[in-house]
Amino acid sequence: MNEQYERLESLLSRAPHIDDDGFTEAVMARLPPSRPSLRMRTIILLASTVTSCSVVAAVPGARRFLAEISVGLVSGSAATGSSLLVAGIVVALVVWGAMAAASSET
């Protein structure tokens, strides 16, 4: 009985090597398009942020607009509520755009 089990175990432990025969290429062909590397995504995100801040700083009156928003935020003034809303939407759009650019497939 033990002899039979030993023979069985020896037969079961055979693991013949299977040649690749194009298998790896078939898998690689089915992978989704490559995405930017983590480093590249970080660079895109930072570059987008710096560019958008520079654009805002360069627009005439933008600094005063930002100052008004800051004052309104601190004082809780209702008059600047709508400006704050607009600024919030702009910032959200900029961040969303940068995130989309960073995560998009190349």
Binding site: L11, R14, I18, T24
Partner: protein
């Protein structure tokens, strides 16, 4: 190069060359395991193996090195097989059909091994999986329990039952050979 640095390169830089090396390194084991689960149907085993590596690529960021990369791949392969089986509504009988069953007139270890392979197809799927992982890839009971998501006791039971069925088959095979001889 070992698996860990290659995996790190795939996660950080989506390094396709590193992933190619990983697939090439592990394809034989995964395809061999699936070939047994698929009862010798090579085309089917390769379909599921491709799906396994695609899922591995998608989830490689969640891989934790505790059990080893090959164990992680076996676990994905087994789940992919189970999911494909559900998707195609395979019955146990359909899977147990013998696509490569060929009568051979030669005797010897090669034929005995082929006969055991055919006998494996008559086992229940968890028995086939446990016996393959245990003997072909030398996994411990605990490793198999992690890969197949069964309790250790269940793994031991599947191995014992599977072995007993195969031993009985081997015994009748030997008797048959003696009568023929």
């Amino acid at each position: 190069m070992e698996d860990a640095p290659l995996i790190a390169r795939v996660v950080a830089d989506d390094d396709r060359h590193a992933f190619t090396t990983l697939v090439r390194r592990h394809q034989s084991a995964i395809r061999g395991f699936l070939l047994r689960l698929c009862c010798g149907d090579g085309a089917l085993a390769d379909d599921v193996a491709q799906e396994t590596f695609l899922l591995a690529y998608q989830r490689i960021g969640s891989y934790r090195s505790e059990g080893g990369f090959d164990s992680w791949l076996f676990s994905i392969a087994y789940r992919s097989f189970a999911s494909e089986k559900r998707r195609r509504h395979w019955s146990a009988e359909e899977l147990r059909e013998e696509p490569e069953a060929v009568e051979s007139s030669t005797q010897g270890p090669e034929e005995a091994a082929a006969d055991i392979e055919r006998a494996m197809r008559q086992l229940r799927e968890p028995e086939r999986a446990c016996l393959s992982l245990c003997y072909q890839w030398g996994m411990s009971h605990q490793e198999m329990a992690n890969v197949l998501e069964y309790p250790v006791g269940t793994v031991k039971t599947h191995i014992a039952r599977g072995k007993e069925k195969l031993r009985a088959h081997l015994s009748s095979y030997d008797q048959q050979r003696e009568q023929e001889g």
